[in-house]
């Protein structure tokens, strides 16, 4: 083991984790509700595990070779995705399979996007089209306000056997697609030549997105987009005034919303006092912030090392346990230490993304990378903060682990953007080095060639 380099070590650790967890999943078999004393092994889980192991290997060794991806980023992402697939599997077999499917499709999309980043130079002639597409995607859920907070368009609903609640297992969330468009468009606008006119367009586009989201009452995603756009503006202009104005404006509008909207105010009260008993509509007594309270109780049940994978299914009492509160599920099954480690993995991805942004040679690429990293960072921060009751809950999902095709696909595409920027940065560096003549073969070719022509 000592002779292995860091990449090999990390890949081995992730593979070991996936293998062990996958074996457990296989031995447990498809989750059955109710008290059962026998588990039948499910070989689908074995296939899924093999697929996950293959993805880890491909991501660490083959993708970097074929498309110039960043192996560290890929490995960390694959770790999270493996965890996600297997956690979803512990929720239900179908959920696990769907998640694996989205993972596979997402990987393909990631490759496509990363190649696209290297080819596409500017999107200027596509601005109006893309902006309209974004607006359409954002407006679409307004016509379908079921479970309005998420702007979900549910496709399949099942009744959870244990709790009797209705859970969405397949849905589309159009606003996830807008994430990518937002970042790409903003990056392009902000890296344009004549800064002033383009930035007006950029600001207008950002405001439009935010406004539509407020209109839909999807405050979580709205905050996310606003913060990402703010950070991109800050990166592009370097102006602290802009940053502080933006933050102050955000705080001010949050206060305004608190005064007015019932939903936000409810959320704040639930944040402050989740365990308080209140009378609910049916005349019974319930917990004021029962979502948060259930989540906290799941955290407490997990303790340090967790209840164990697949042992208890009391996490099903946590509302939205497969998308928003999946972090609680992870805590309850794997424990607080592991949950902190997962959080740290997200931080490593963040740092890596920022590093890629710093290595980018073109402004457009740098802004892209900063936008992507900021988005993933904020999303993780906001959802974990809501789940552990650090601030009021908002309706965003956990990247890579939450159930939801659109969430998974959009996160993979964001990773694709990062990989694309990384590959470009790499390639550009190699070009520069080649020009400098640090590779003697190229240098001599150069000299020979120039002399030929000049002579």
């Amino acid at each position: 083991m000592a002779r292995w380099d860091l990449r090999q070590r990390l890949v081995m650790l992730v593979m070991l984790f996936t293998f062990a967890l996958g074996m457990l999943a296989m031995l447990h078999g498809a989750p059955v509700s109710g008290a059962s004393t026998m588990y039948t092994a499910d070989f689908t889980a074995l296939l899924i595990t093999i697929g996950l192991l293959a993805m880890i290997f491909i991501g660490a060794y083959l993708f970097p070779k074929w498309i110039g991806a960043d192996p560290l980023l890929m490995t960390m992402m694959n770790f999270l995705c493996s965890l996600g697939v297997l956690v979803q599997y512990s929720i239900s077999r179908g959920s696990g399979l769907y998640h694996a499917l989205w993972y596979a499709i997402g990987s393909i999309l990631m490759v496509v996007v990363s190649l696209a980043v290297r080819r596409v130079k500017t999107l200027r002639r596509w601005w109006p089209h893309l902006a309209i597409l974004a607006a359409m995607l954002l407006i679409a859920p307004l016509f379908n306000t079921v479970n309005g907070a998420h702007a979900h368009i549910p496709i399949q609903r099942v009744t959870d056997a244990v709790t009797g609640r209705s859970i969405i297992t397949l849905s589309i969330q159009p606003s996830e697609g807008v994430k990518i468009l937002l970042i790409i468009l903003l990056a392009d606008m902000l890296s344009g030549h004549s800064w002033r006119p383009d930035s007006v367009w950029a600001m207008g586009f950002a405001v439009m997105c935010v406004g539509l989201l407020i209109a839909e009452d999807d405050l979580g995603t709205c905050v996310l987009y606003a913060m990402t756009a703010l950070l991109m503006f800050f990166a592009a202009t370097g102006s602290f005034t802009l940053l502080f104005t933006g933050v102050a404006g955000g705080a001010g509008s949050a206060w305004l919303v608190y005064q007015n909207t019932g939903k936000f105010r409810t959320r704040v009260e639930q944040w402050l006092n989740p365990f308080m008993r209140v009378m609910d509509d049916k005349g019974g007594v319930g917990l004021k912030g029962y979502q948060i309270a259930e989540s906290l109780m799941a955290l407490a049940a997990g303790g340090v090392h967790g209840l164990g994978y697949g042992i208890r299914d009391t996490f099903r009492w946590v509302p939205e346990y497969s998308n928003d509160f999946v972090f609680s599920v992870v805590c309850s099954q794997f424990g607080a230490v592991f949950a902190l480690a997962v959080l740290a993995v997200y931080v490593v991805i963040l740092f890596r993304g920022m590093r890629i942004a710093q290595r980018a040679r073109r402004r457009f690429h740098a802004l892209l990378a900063i936008g992507v990293t900021a988005l993933i960072g904020f999303q993780t921060f906001v959802i974990v903060g809501g789940v552990v009751n650090m601030f009021p809950l908002t309706g965003v999902t956990m990247p890579f682990i939450s159930q939801g095709g659109s969430s998974m696909l959009s996160c993979m595409m964001l990773m694709g953007i990062l990989n694309g920027v990384y590959a470009c940065a790499d390639q550009d560096e190699q070009d520069a080095r080649a020009i400098l003549g640090q590779y003697s073969a190229v240098r001599s070719t150069f000299i020979w060639t120039t002399r030929e022509v000049g002579g």
């Binding site: 370097g238 365990f275 029962y290 009391t314 931080v347 920022m354 402004r363 900063i370 552990v388």
Partner: protein, 466 residues
């Protein structure tokens, strides 16, 4: 480009700080609060026990207070102590799992009773045996017979609470709240689900003078040798302070003022010291503080300092006004004074184990050093004097040095409403290091109603020790 790079670095720093805060918040909350979250009766992990049979609860002598027994249908139901008097006496202490009694042992220590705290090897061992899984059994520090005695001798028809604890170790020997209910027959009076010892706030009345005294010893040097004049009536601004039964104490030292429970002296002290000094001392004892004990949940005692009037300041010196506390807190005050100024953490859990008698005892821990030794000993002597020659004389037990303080807390400006009768005190004896607090709602005078009851209970406690 350089600018973008620098900004990217800055943003990385911002995110690092954000996530560090998140991680720290998460760790802190899970470490400190997870016990309480888990103990909430709405916890599905407690409600759906997954076939685990809850463990038994024993008192310190091994008497079974609650255990799970298989009934005719093959289900397990909870069976309580045989003696109905014992059952009723520990009813609020034991609590239930449906959330009717807040934070009783059955729900607050459910993590033990349902096996969540079992060690790894124990759990594995259980998994491989054929028996159905059981949680851990817990042994409490309370003495059920003492609780029974206290509940039986409480004045009939009155509500209130009794707390007896060992001030050297913090172990709670008795915690009784009246009215109580019978968990076996579900016979309950209105309000019987409240644990008045820990969960209800009352004005402490003259008991608070102990704290004012402690504050004065610190803030006013030489106050021990001063003489105060009690003329029977003292007017502050709009408030006219009188003594109990219209008494006049004349010229008193501070110790005599405590012995005789002189309101005027303490009011004058408060006016001299001001809110901050008294609040500091009260906070040291646990007022205005979020108290998080490991084994139980206590409502926080309050000493409000926001009123600008001197009337309120004067009143607060003798525990009236808006000062509120719980009987457990007052017992802790007496315990701290008796223990040389060190407050031990109140302890309910003696040991938890998977067998009936095994397990390692849980250790005692110091909660806080509230007073320095000299002040503690001064207060101790004052309390002993109060029993020997002062208002608490009804609590004296021959052959033992008893210290105590009585209180009659007014609850209304209407003089016809009876006051709450308080007594808090201790036995100054290394063989019986017990502190006690008795509260009788509407019991009248502390000296007449509460002190004799405390005397009886302490006698019984001494007897039971052997």
């Amino acid at each position: 480009m350089k600018r973008i790079r620098r900004t990217a670095g800055l943003i990385t720093g911002i995110f690092a700080v954000m996530f560090l805060c998140l991680g720290g918040f998460f760790t802190y909350n899970v470490t400190v609060y997870s016990d309480r979250w888990f103990a909430d009766p709405a916890n599905p992990n407690i409600i759906h026990t997954d076939g685990v049979i809850p463990g038994s609860v024993y008192d310190k002598n091994g008497m079974s207070l609650a255990k799970s027994v298989e009934n005719a249908q093959g289900d397990y139901e909870r069976v309580y102590a045989e003696n109905p008097s014992v059952r009723r006496a520990v009813s609020q202490l034991l609590g239930d799992t449906e959330g009717q009694v807040a934070n009783g042992v059955e729900s607050f220590m459910a993590a033990y009773l349902l096996g969540y705290r079992a060690g790894w090897t124990a759990r594995l061992g259980q998994l491989f045996s054929d028996e159905p899984r059981r949680g851990d059994n817990i042994r409490l520090t309370v003495d059920a017979m003492l609780c029974k005695y206290a509940a039986e001798h409480f004045p009939a028809g009155k509500s209130g609470a009794v707390v007896v604890l060992n001030y050297k170790t913090g172990e709670i020997r008795a915690m009784v709240s009246l009215p109580n209910f019978d968990p076996a027959t579900d016979d309950h009076a209105p309000g019987s689900y409240f644990n008045r010892a820990t969960n209800v706030l009352y004005p402490p009345g003259s008991l608070f003078k102990l704290i004012t005294y402690a504050a004065a010893l610190k803030e006013l040097p030489g106050v021990e040798s001063r003489t105060f004049n009690c003329g029977g009536r003292f007017t502050v601004d709009q408030l006219s302070i009188v003594e109990a039964n219209g008494a006049t104490h004349g010229a008193v030292t501070l110790r005599q003022a405590l012995e005789q429970s002189c309101n005027i002296t303490f009011a004058q002290l408060a006016l001299e010291m001001g809110y901050p000094a008294i609040e500091r001392q009260a906070r040291a004892f646990g007022f205005n503080d979020t108290v998080l004990f490991r084994d139980l949940v206590v409502k926080d005692s309050k000493y409000p300092t926001t009123s600008p009037t001197r009337d309120d300041l004067a009143q607060s010196a003798y525990g009236q006004g808006r000062v509120e506390t719980t009987p457990l807190e007052m017992a802790l005050v007496a315990a701290t004074i008796a223990n040389g100024g060190t407050m031990m953490e109140p302890k309910l859990l003696d040991r938890a184990s998977s067998t009936a008698s095994g397990g390692l005892p849980v250790g005692s821990s110091v909660y806080r050093k509230v007073l320095d030794d000299s002040r503690a000993s001064i207060l101790k002597e004052a309390m002993v004097a109060a029993v020997q020659v002062g208002t608490a004389s009804q609590a004296s037990i021959e052959g033992y040095r008893i210290g105590g303080k009585t209180g009659s807390a007014e609850v209304s400006s209407d003089k016809t409403v009876p006051t709450h009768a308080w007594f808090t005190g201790f036995i100054d004896d290394p063989e019986h290091p017990l502190a006690i607090c008795v509260l009788i709602e509407g019991g009248g005078s502390g000296a007449i109603a509460a002190a004799p009851l405390a005397q009886d209970i302490l006698r019984e406690a001494i007897r039971l020790k052997d």
